[in-house]
Amino acid sequence: MDFIQNFPFMSIILSLFSGPLSSILNGKWAKRVNMAVITVIGLMSGSVLAYVLGTGQGFVYRMGHFSAPWGNEIRVGVLEAFMALFFCVIMLLCMLGGVAEREKEIEVSKQNLYYIMVNLLLCSLLALIYTNDLFTAYVFVEINTISACGLIMIKQNGRTIEAATRYMIMSLLGSGLLLLGICFLYDLTGHLLMSNIKEQVQMLAATGQYHIPLVVSLGLMSVGLAIKSALYPFHAWLPDAYGYSTLSSAAILSSLVSKGYIFLLVKIFYRVIGFNVICESKVIHVLFVFGILGMIMGSVSAIQERDIRRMIAYSSVAQIGYIYMGFGLGTEIGVVASIYHILSHAATKSLLFVAASGITDASGGSRQFRDLTGAGFRNKLAGIAFTVGSLSMVGMPMFSGFISKLLFGQAAMGHTHKMLPTLIALAVSTVLNAIYFMKTVIRLYAPGSGEEAMVEGRVIHIKEQPAKSVALVFFILLNLILGLNSEPVIRLIESGLQMFD
């Protein structure tokens, strides 16, 4: 066994232990430890990715050297390593972009607690990506929920506590359903390791035995994870949680936390049940319908919103709808499009959140649209970044959003029943996206508005924030890379999905 095969386990355990370590450090050192840990884990994931690409096949890491079906396992393929690397990059940039907000909004004595939560969140995300055991996945889903709740409520006012409570309630409903689904599946197959369950499920599906319990279990797991990742009718907690928490929390929650659950769902589809069984079941039609509803309704809510942060939050509902619509198509290329959209949405949404905070800083801290007029002239980089993010969300060529829309369109082409609804929903949703994003961009660059921000007659000065500027530049680059250089990424996703079997 090569030494590099230890890296996935080491990255999980490193982030897990840096959490308790942060509790005895002060805020400044906890921040440094956190940044270092994310960087180290990113480097490790990168080398794992290079290793897996080099050998051309995934590997299984047995915890404590107990072989299947008794032991617990970590399984690494191209897609897992790539996701871990990507999540580390996004998380590092989100933490970098929100440094100033964290120092302002979190009490000094509680700064280190924030980094405990971030480290635990990273640990649970990595475990969700790598684990090969369904019950371990459930436990880390709960750790993910608890640390995300901590991220929301660390900025202490009535709004965030209420948002955290609502978030917890919806998340607990979701994890209850997920746990019940896992129990059903364990009852049917007698295994907890994903590969062993898949063998048994394939056998059951071939003989037609226990058809109804299998579908019920699949439905419970899908709905549970859909609730947790805020698919349309279950999104009520989302605008408050994203809109009022501190900047890095909002960026991390929208771009990573919900994506972790979706990635687990992909793993359940491919590695636990098997994609052929999924396509035959009716569960994907339900996901398809709610995905399309989410695409439209999320955008409609975003248009009505007067607060820029909440508008971006509602836009997340629409983008999550895209991802579930891709799953609902029930084809390989649909899933590829969804996974590409996970990447593109993670890169774009965190960019938008960070840029929006730069814009609101340049408008005297107000998030209301009427105060944002001309803010693009006052904070140039944030204005450019917001424009890039908006164009990407709308689906302009050159940016990442275009490629994912193109992939969704290609996936829908030639589909017997779902081609027309998908294409119509894509078109309508693009127009709606354009309405609210372009409305904001036009307001940011309204001609004739003053170079200086005037709030209640006072001129406000914009503080330079080098960390935020660096984060914005890297986010823009990431968007351009994903938009202009999509071929290798798509090939990576395809080979990763093949490695899942």
């Binding site: 019950f135 009535g158 917890m168 209850g176 359903l177 129990c183």
Partner: protein, 125 residues
Amino acid sequence: MNFANLLNNYAEAVAMILFGIGFSNLLLQKNLMKKIIGLNIMDTATYLFLALKGYIEGRKAPVVVDGIQSVEAYVNPIPSGLVLTGIVVSVSVTALMLSLTIRLYRRYHTLDLDEISTRLKKEGK
């Protein structure tokens, strides 16, 4: 529908009914304490289901005391392990929910989540 199966597996049916009760309480109750009680009923129902699935009629708990080492003598130990893990998780989320409830109560002197929301909207912050 075969109702005989329902009668044979009445314990599983009870677990599912309890799950439904807990789920709808967590979703629909306005009072935060009742929501938390619903959460606990829901989780406990899942553990009941798991424990039932691990139980085999006429066998004992898998602890070797009188030297019998045959697998046939004992029930499946894995569901018990899963239940234990699940209990730990549910205790921690319950504690978190209770602490959030205390925070909200100290601020707004009510346990009604909807009322808190309307008050927050009125404040407009």
